[in-house]
Every structure is written in structure tokens, then in C-alpha cells.
Amino acid sequence: MATTQEWKITAKDIAEKPDILMPGHRACAGCGPAHALRLVMKAIRGPTIVTEATGCMEVVTSIYPYTSWAVPWLHTAFETSAANASGIEAALKVLKRKGKLKQEHVDVIAIAGDGGTFDIGFQALSGAVERGHDFLFVLYDNEAYMNTGIQRSGGTPMGAATTTTPAGSVMPGKLQHKKPIADIMVAHGMEYVASASPYYWKDLLQKVRRGLEVEGPAFLHLFAPCPRGWRTDPAKTINYSKLAVESCVFPVYEVVNGKYTLSTPSKLIALAPQKKKPVADYLKGQGRYRHLFAPQNKHMLDEIQRWTDERWAKLQQKVEQTA
């Protein structure tokens, strides 16, 4: 990474920093992605261009003639945020070389939801990372196509009811597990891949900053609860972003040049496994999982717990193996 000095931040610093994702946007009450992205934009280090895939955060922040963005921002299509970043970064590079860029450096952030990352935008993301463009890709994962009304994506977890995986009499919600997107990005040989959850805001901010400091592609997987899609209380968004980490459904960690490190919230659980909460604690208040608590679906709950444990164990193994 470009700098070795850690970025020191306090709650006061963050409160005093102007919002780059400004108020007035049209996100729902308790929107996890809006909160997560507001934090992301608090962590920028200088001139920045943002490009965003079609999705919740794009439509709620850019409705013409209004905008919530205090930095230059571009949207072209659903599957293109990483391809856009490629073009922006290439343009900045050549304009700088030709002496036509006023700024010494401009950071590029590509933002997409789980649809624009796991699914339709994956090819562009994989290609842009392979080519080594200097940009930070931020995935805000609210675990379904929420903008269009809660349809399943490759990021939707097993058992979740969506409008395309409804909980019916023979189908208990989505049958497949979530695609391990961060592992897939690590497999690209990227310098920096990390996961973060908004409850642990300081951890999230620092990861954004580290991702920006990488000279090349960096990937940040953000946990972003969606009260409308998850059928949760809008006041509980932050609670769920904590519970997901505590139950190891969404561990927070960093992978720097292939070396896995658990971030403090997850590391504490690894050190004291008795602190790990059952997945049911995380699932139970969410309407999208309500059907799993019916007796006939117990096997689903068991499978989710088994898979979560297995993933958590594998993650800890990777931490050990790459130490």
C-alpha cells in the first residue's frame, strides 16, 4: 500500500467532516446502504470521482434535477460500474500525462449493490480487476434486488424469502447459499479485499481509506441491511449489522496481498468462541426468514448454521495458513 501510516479518526472528526453523500436523498427510513455509503464518503482522502451502478443508491441520490452527491458522479447502466471506473481511471491517467489534469491525483470509487456485483456486473468487475485499474470497488450488499422490489440475487442468503424465491408450501425461500464474493475477488490476486459492517463504523472507514491507498484495484464488501426487503424494523438496521458479525454470518476481515486478517470484532469472537451467537439470533427478527422457524423448515435453520460454522472455520484456517 502507498502509505504505512494509519489514518487516525475519531467520532468528532467524522461528525465534523462535511457529508459527501448529502442529505435530502430519497432512501427509505433505516436504509443500510445509505448509511454505509455516507460513511464510505466520509473516508475519502482528496479529489474523488464516484461511479455507480443502477440500483437503490443510484436512483435515490440522483433524481433529476436534484443530486445528493458533492463529488463528480457518473451512472451509465446496471452492469457497468467497474467498466466505468476503468474508463475514468484511464482518462485521468492520460490527461495527467498530457498535463491536462488540474489535480495531482484523483481517486476513483465504483459503487454497486449485490445485483451489480455478484450477478450482472460481475464480468465487468472481474475484467477491470484483472486489468489492474486503480480504483476502489464498494459493494453495498443488501442481499437482493431491492430497488425493483426484493428479487433474489447471487448475494441472497439461503432461506431468505424474496419475490422470486417466495416462501411457499414446497419451497422454503432461496435454496442456494450466498456466492462467496470476497473469496472470488481474493482469487483475482488483488492487493486489498475487505469486508465491513456499519455498526463497526471506525473499522469501515479505515478499510475505505486503505482501499483507496492501494495503487490498483481494491474491493470492499459492505454489509447493508434493508428494512423493506428484509422485513425488519427500520430502527434496528444497525443492530442487524452488529448481529451479523456476532453470529459470524458476516465476519469482518481484511485480505492484504492474500494474507487474511480478522478485524477486531471478528477476532474477538475467534479468541472467545463462546461469544459467537447462534444464527437464529440474527435470523429471528427478520420477516424474510420468518418461515424458517416453522417446524417443517428446521432443516433449513440447521443447514444455515452448519454452513455459517463451516465458512467461519475456513476463514480462521485461512487466517492461520496465511499468517
Partner: protein
Amino acid sequence: MKSDVKQETLALNGDEAVAYAVKQSDVDVVAAYPITPQTIMVEKFSEYVANGEVETEFVCTESEHSAMAASISASATGARAFTATASAGLALMHEMLFVASGCRTPVVMAVANRALSAPLNIHGDHSDTMAERDSGWVQIYVENAQEAYDSVIQAFRIAEHTSVLLPVLVGLDGFTLSHTLENVTALSDADVKEFIGERKLINVLTHEGKSVPFKLDPDNPMTMGPIALQNYYFEFKRQQEEGMKNALALIRQVHDEYAKLSGRSYGNGLVEKYQLDDAEIAVVCVGSTAGTMKTVVDELRAEGVKAGLLKLRTFRPFPVEEIQNALGKVHAVGIMDKSMSFGGNGGAVFHEVRHALYDLAERPLVVDYIYGLGGRDYNPKEFKKIFNELRQIAHSKRVHKLVNFTGLRE
């Protein structure tokens, strides 16, 4: 032609001629994905990059969809952007073509025209670009490698002009032009650079009333590619149409300026009339076919037949007035369509030319000839037959068959 202009003659195929023009056009970003028969453009340009002959940032993307997205975003960042494709590649870009024109990003693209699947076919026809005629791109079709070279240079001036700000596509026939070696006379690097100039950005007003350049600039943050619904979308689209209208005049102007510099011209830049002034019968065609057709017209003229040709160089914006003026007095016109509009009662060129003539008090009888699909060969003998039919139509004042297939086994 300016007397002090030094030009050199090079042996280039159409693809190489395009790559050479791009090399001279001070392009900032080329984002492209190789596809037959455009491949040579990308390969040749990669060589320029590998040998340090250009300052361009070359992004060899993982798909045409991303190539167009990256071209749009590079252009939005203030860079001059170029891409190239063909056939399936253009079809894959389809979504992004509308985004390019809607975002008013003046990307220039060369398309080595090729048939669309299925069945899979790599050879030349106009199925690919004709299917994109409503995507908001200026469309220019060329007759030979020389015109490909000249048109790409002109395209940057047209696209980036602040009265237009629309993407421009230059279509050259796959293999017939893309892979055929020709003598191409090229301007010097300095003359091309001077002719195109630096990209000038249009200034727009911010909500605070400040006039700022229209690009992604951290000093003047701007939201580009927003969502605009029932209350604004329509106005965006209407403004795009204004850009197209302005392009009609600008294409001519840029063409004329270029003609003065290079000594080469293609009609008035919109259409090229060949032996049309006293013609009784005529054909309209697009692209390389015009070369073959000129030979046929010459032969017929030698036989005393008053035959003529209208080469449609600019298809978007559609030059209605030029077509009316060129064809109004002709008795029978045959339209050469190298693509299908399935179920549409004729091809795209037929529809549009015939529509342009409708408002004339006196208008010719117009018939359609669909030909050359999937690279099917055609020759002067066949074209002569078409002129013969047109003579009969002109004589009898009756059309027996409105839509005809030429060179087809039936």
C-alpha cells in the same frame, strides 16, 4: 486543396486505415474488444501503443459492453475516446449506445459491418448498424479505405462540436473494406492534429449559476447520467434530437473544410450524387457497393442509358432534403438494402428514402432490392439487371414487386 499540404500514400486495408486515423487524431482513450472483421483495428492500434507511437491509454476490455461503458466514462471525464466493433459486438453494446448518446458523450466508433447471428456469419452486411439506427448515433458509411480514413478524422470534429455532442459511428463493409488493401493517402500528423484540434468542452450552468465545463471534475462536482422520470426525460430526448439536427449542417461543414485541406470530397458529406442530374433511373446504396455501382452506371451511360447513383454517406441524421433534391426528378429508383427489417415490407434504407420522397408533388416509383446478406457476393451483371428492371418500371409506370431479393437462391 491547400498548396502546402504534404500527404503520403500508404498501402492500408480499411481496418488499418481506421487505426492510422485514430493514431493521428490525438485520442486519449481507446477502449475496445476485438471481433472479426474489426480485429485488425485493435491489433494495429495495440502495436502503436506497444511501440510508444501514441500517448493513448489503451483499455483492452473483457467485452464490448464494457468497451462502450469505458468509452462513455472516459469521454465524461473529458477525454477524447474511440472504440471499434462489429456485428455481435455492436449488438452487445446496444444498451450502452443509447447511454452514450443520452449522456452526450462524443465517442467515435468504427464498425466493420458484419452480419448478425444466427446463423453465425462473419461476413459483411449492414444488419449490425442498421439495427442501431435509432440509438442516437450519427452514422456515416464509407465506400473505400480512403474514405474510412478521412471519415474517422472528420468524425471527431463532428462528435465533439458543442452544437452536436453526440457519438459518431463510421461504418465500413466487413472484409470488402476491412481486409482489402488499397492505396490510402494520408495527411501529416500535424495537419490532422490541427484539423481536429483539442477537445473543447461545453460549459453548463450549475445550480449556483456558475459556468463550468461539462465533465467529471472534482473542482466542479457534477452528477452525470442521473435518473430522470416523467417530468424531465422527454426534454433530454428532445435536446438530443436538436443535436442531430445540428449535425446535419456540421457534417457538411466539416466535410468541406476537410476537402479544402486534403483535396478529397464525398459529395457534400451527406450524400454523393453520381450522374444524377439528368438521370431517369437511379439506385441508392450505402457503403462499398457504391464503387461497383459507379462502374455499372458508367457502362450504362456509355450505352446511352440515363442511369445515376445516389450514395447515402450519412444515414443519421437522415438527409431528407438532399434526397428529395437528388431523386425528385428521377422516374424510378431502386434502393439497395444490405440488411433486413423482418416483416417491415422492405429494408431500412428503402423505408427511409421512400418516406423522404413522399412529400414531393412529383416523385419517383421506388422499389427495394435486398442483397448481399451474410457477405453474399454481388456483381455488375446483377446490378445491370436491376437497372433494366428500373427502366421497365419507369417506362410502364408500374411496380410489380415492391421488395425484391437479389442474388438469392429461390
